[in-house]
């Protein structure tokens, strides 16, 4: 227990201390949501209909931007080697780092979303549901991003390559996340079935993704 908590605590402090990673992700999120209406036109009706989609897609991109740092720093300075000789199995190390990424990136983005929703005329009553779907879906985003991060360690253009590898895997998250909120807005379908599917997908990712990420890490450390 103690090594796991120590690692989690350390990763979270590093995220706060090392050069504004969280701020950058939030800033990017704001940027994308702000310029989208400039491209689509200010028709509030249109914007409110596509708001859940835009908010989700922009969130995925912002989360992917910072996914690089899940393992990269530790790989570069040799920390990963020493972590691998510790008492925790490597999949657990990967899971803890993914969890730290979720806490420091996924959660802040999800909490910012309703504020940005105001820019897109998202009906205010759906804000709680929007935040809920994002809090439920962003663990999958972080944990799957960790797989991409582990496969692209030390490569050129790893950030963009990571996004390319991982985005198709986010299709279910996007579909169910947006589907739930859209159902609440347009009705009469219930928002709960897609939300449950999203929950199941997230839980499955939390359990399975670290195994793949650990395999990727072992491969990179050879």
């Amino acid at each position: 227990m103690k090594p796991a908590l120590a690692l989690l605590r350390r990763d979270i402090s590093l995220a706060f201390r090392e050069g504004g990673a969280i701020g950058t992700a939030l800033g990017f999120y704001l940027m994308v949501v702000a310029i989208t209406p400039l491209g689509l036109g200010p028709d509030l009706n249109l914007l409110s209909r596509i708001a859940p989609g835009i908010l989700w897609v922009a969130l995925l991109l912002a989360a992917l931007l910072s996914a690089d740092r899940i393992f990269h720093n530790d790989y570069e300075d040799g920390t990963l080697d020493v972590l691998a000789t510790g008492p925790l199995p490597l999949p657990l190390v990967a899971a803890i780092k993914s969890l730290a990424h979720w806490i420091t990136t996924g959660v802040p983005l999800a909490l910012l979303a309703p504020v940005l929703g105001l820019l897109l005329n998202l009906p205010v009553e759906t804000s709680p549901l929007l935040v809920l779907t994002m809090l439920v879906g962003t663990p999958a985003v972080s944990f799957i991003a960790a797989i991409g991060a582990s496969l692209t360690l030390g490569l050129r253009r790893s950030g963009m390559l990571l996004a390319l590898l991982v985005l198709p895997l986010y299709v279910p998250v996007l579909i169910f996340g947006v589907g739930s909120v859209s159902a609440a807005i347009t009705g009469p379908a219930s928002p709960w079935p897609p939300l449950l599917m999203l929950t199941a997908f997230s839980l499955a990712s939390i359990v399975l993704a670290p195994l793949a990420a650990a395999a990727g890490l072992r491969n990179a450390m050879r």
Partner: protein
């Protein structure tokens, strides 16, 4: 957690990038003794240490630990490689405290660890400000925050001044006296009494 163990390698082979660096290599390092690994660049010194640390799979052969213990070999080792594993955003003390927590040592051991190489005055400073030599000393201080019987040191004296190398020699000698073993890869000789020598890359000249 003071276990006295010896390590033996049985006919191990190493492959990297499709090339075989060495094969059918065997050696034994009993408790309290040290192995010095020499050889030109690319001969496989680092690879050998990484194989012991569990970071690189063996292409053939196996390691054995005598007496047999429950823990896997990597958990018995302190691996200090080329990279220092120092986080610039944390203070010197925070770096060591983390390793103490993670590797199963006691928090109190951190102070003693800082003293070995005289890093106590720097304890609260951010590690970003350290020089290369100080980083190396911080990396080596990791050896003292948790007790592990096997020390795997890859070029430990790089960036160290003569006084620090003496401290390192003394630390290794004390570790050996306590029943631990050390496997050191180095270009420069160390004063420690190495009862075993391994020269890699010799066969390739043939």
């Amino acid at each position: 957690m003071d276990q006295a163990v010896g390590i033996a390698a049985h006919s191990i082979s190493c492959q990297r990038g499709g090339r075989t660096l060495f094969k059918a290599l065997s050696f034994a390092v009993p408790s309290g003794e040290a192995l010095f690994v020499s050889g030109p660049n690319g001969a496989g010194k680092t690879s050998l240490l990484r194989m012991l640390a569990g970071l690189l799979p063996l292409a053939a052969g196996r390691f054995s630990v005598d007496p047999h213990v429950e823990a896997p070999l990597p958990e018995l080792c302190h691996y200090v490689g080329h990279a220092s594993a120092v986080k610039s955003a944390l203070s010197v003390e925070e770096n060591l405290a983390f390793w103490a927590d993670y590797l199963g040592g006691a928090r109190e051991a951190t102070d003693a660890a800082l003293d070995v190489f005289g890093l106590e005055p720097l304890a609260h400073l951010p590690a970003a400000l350290l020089s290369a030599g100080q980083r190396r000393k911080l990396a080596l201080s990791r050896l003292f925050v948790a007790k592990r019987p096997v020390w795997l040191l890859d070029e430990p004296s790089v960036s160290l001044d003569a006084a620090s190398v003496k401290l390192l020699d003394r630390a290794i000698a004390a570790h050996l006296k306590g029943g631990g073993i050390a496997i050191v890869a180095s270009h420069t000789p160390l004063k420690v009494k190495f009862s075993h020598q391994l020269a890699l890359g010799a066969e390739r000249a043939a």
